[in-house]
């Protein structure tokens, strides 16, 4: 038996005192929480004051209270349009995740596929993708498929790039170890590269989820009879600025919730993999 003194292991108490640690942090960081809320509130207050006392037409800048009124008065209408937008965003985001990951895997799998794909991927990134939106209407019509496809077209890219970076982040000596164990490229991909990648994949997903919403809304701007993008366009054309702003507020909320879901998923996966 070998008795060796060593540095004490750094044990991070995750479950036992998780909640109390969280509360302590919140308490000591109360200003970090209160200050941004206060700033936002003051901003809204200033906005309210300017639009009410500044003699500004509500068409140009409606006060926040008017936007809030629209939100409550037209709640059923706004919800009716929120549902397809959210649904299509989720669909586009949901498809872009496996698509981005699969393409990244293909790219990293061998030197040949890497060389064949990488320059094209870089070129693809340079395309101003929004400019192609009208073409998707030409290709796929004015229905949901064209918007969803366009949104996928916009948002799979960050996932692809981030996943490729993650798959390639495996340490040089780790790869040597794999080769010394005579693991195949496929084994290395599945057993080592993929499990190393989640932190990267999630950072790509965080960018992608916001782009997915942008893709759907742009699609709705161009040709649609439903969705928040359509409602914003409709309200603006009738100079109902308050309704347009109410829709934008809901869009922000949808974006926030989806982003929050990605962050939550990240936390769960990280804990499972014991990376953080």
């Amino acid at each position: 038996m070998i008795m060796v003194e060593d540095r004490a292991p750094i044990v991070i108490p995750i479950r036992a005192s998780g909640l109390s640690t969280f509360l302590t942090t919140m308490w000591s960081n109360q200003w970090a929480l209160v200050l941004p809320v206060m700033t936002a509130f003051l901003f809204l207050l200033a906005w309210q004051a300017i639009s009410v006392y500044g003699n500004i037409s509500p068409t140009i800048l409606p006060p926040p209270t008017m936007v809030l009124d629209q939100l409550t008065d037209n709640f059923p209408l706004i919800m009716k349009h929120t549902i397809p937008t959210t649904y299509e965003t989720l669909l586009a985001f949901g498809v872009s995740i496996p698509l981005g990951i699969a393409l990244a895997a293909l790219m990293v799998y061998s030197t040949l596929t890497y060389q064949a794909l990488y320059p094209n991927i870089v070129f693809f990134q340079l395309i101003p993708k929004i400019a192609l939106a009208p073409l998707f209407i030409v290709w796929l019509g004015i229905g949901s498929p064209s918007r969803v496809t366009f949104s996928i077209f916009i948002c799979f890219f960050p996932i692809l790039v981030a996943t490729a970076a993650g798959l390639q982040s495996v340490d040089m000596n780790m790869l040597r170890l794999c080769r010394s164990l005579r693991m195949s490229d496929w084994q290395i991909l599945v057993r080592v590269r993929f499990p190393t990648s989640p932190p990267f994949i999630f950072s790509g997903m965080k960018v992608a989820v916001t782009l997915a919403i942008i893709g759907i809304v742009v699609g709705e701007f161009i040709a649609s009879q439903r969705g928040l993008g359509y409602l914003i366009l409709f309200a603006s054309s009738r100079q109902q600025t308050d309704l347009a702003l109410a829709c934008i507020a809901v869009l922000c909320l949808v974006g926030l919730v989806l982003y929050g879901c990605v962050v939550l998923g990240e936390k769960v996966v990280m804990r499972l993999y014991g990376v953080r």
Binding site: P9, I10, L181, P195, G274, V275
Partner: protein, 261 residues
């Protein structure tokens, strides 16, 4: 005794033409079965490249490497390797990391479970089997890596500056851990290091490698009795041998400088 590893005029050149870089000029030596040999040299002298060639992870430009009686042409699962960094998989526990080679070699995991537990007990990690690498200290991680290299019962153990990233105290501890394991299993070990004391402490024989040209410039037997412990480092014989090795390296450096002028 029979030679387990045999290198004959091994040369490695990276690149071609004007950009060509000779990492190893000519390495000729052999290591007996069960022998502990240290490859000592300044950083950048090509000793790690040489080790990677012996592991079959790098091809040779010229020369021949024979390990276990057959020419080395590709990596072999029966050679254990320990790198400078522990290279553990962060999502696997200590035990899972140790058993990773078994899993990858499609061998019966349960048949090696006992051996894994024995190795972990020998390095003093039997109460950390279910911990993840981020819960272990640097020294503990490197011990896991050592157990992983030994799990498949390889005949050859190649070590590439395995303790150089650790602090001095942990490093001394690791030397003792390694010696204990070696006494028990008697593997053929080639240990790359740039620490003279470490080389003398551990090995039966020290191969000194020079830089430009990068080749074996001296070969010194270490006569100290085994099993060894820390006390040996305090003896005058030990320090004399260290001094001699230092002279060898200094002389090689001077030769290098003269050759350049």
């Amino acid at each position: 005794m029979q030679a387990e590893i045999c290198c004959q005029g091994v040369r490695k050149v990276y690149g071609k033409g004007a950009a060509a870089f000779e990492a190893v000029a000519a390495a000729t030596f052999s290591i007996d079965k069960g022998e502990f040999v240290c490859l000592l040299g300044p950083s950048g002298c090509g000793k790690s490249t040489l080790l990677m060639m012996i592991a079959g992870l790098e091809g040779v430009t010229d020369g021949r490497i024979v390990a276990g009686g057959t020419a080395m042409v590709e990596p072999r699962a029966e050679i254990g390797i320990v790198f400078q960094d522990p290279t553990l998989l962060p999502w696997k526990t200590t035990l899972q990391n140790v058993l990773f080679p078994i899993e990858m070699m499609h061998k019966d995991r349960s048949a090696y479970l006992g051996r894994a537990m024995e190795l972990l007990r020998l390095v003093g990690l039997d109460d950390a089997i279910n911990k993840r690498p981020n819960q272990l200290s640097g020294g503990m991680r490197q011990r896991v890596s050592l157990c992983r290299a030994l799990i498949a019962d390889p005949s050859i153990l190649l070590m590439d500056e395995p303790f150089s990233a650790l602090d001095a105290i942990t490093r001394d501890d690791m030397n003792i851990v390694l010696l204990e394991l070696w006494e028990r299993y008697r593997k053929t070990v080639l240990f790359v290091t740039h620490s003279i004391r470490e080389a003398v402490m551990l090995s039966d024989r020290v191969l000194v490698m020079g830089r430009s040209p990068s080749k074996i410039i001296a070969e010194i037997e270490v006569p100290f009795a085994r099993p060894r412990d820390f006390a040996i480092g305090e003896t005058s014989e030990f320090n004399e041998l260290c001094g001699m090795l230092r002279d060898q390296i200094t002389r090689a450096r001077q030769g290098e400088a003269e050759a350049r002028h």
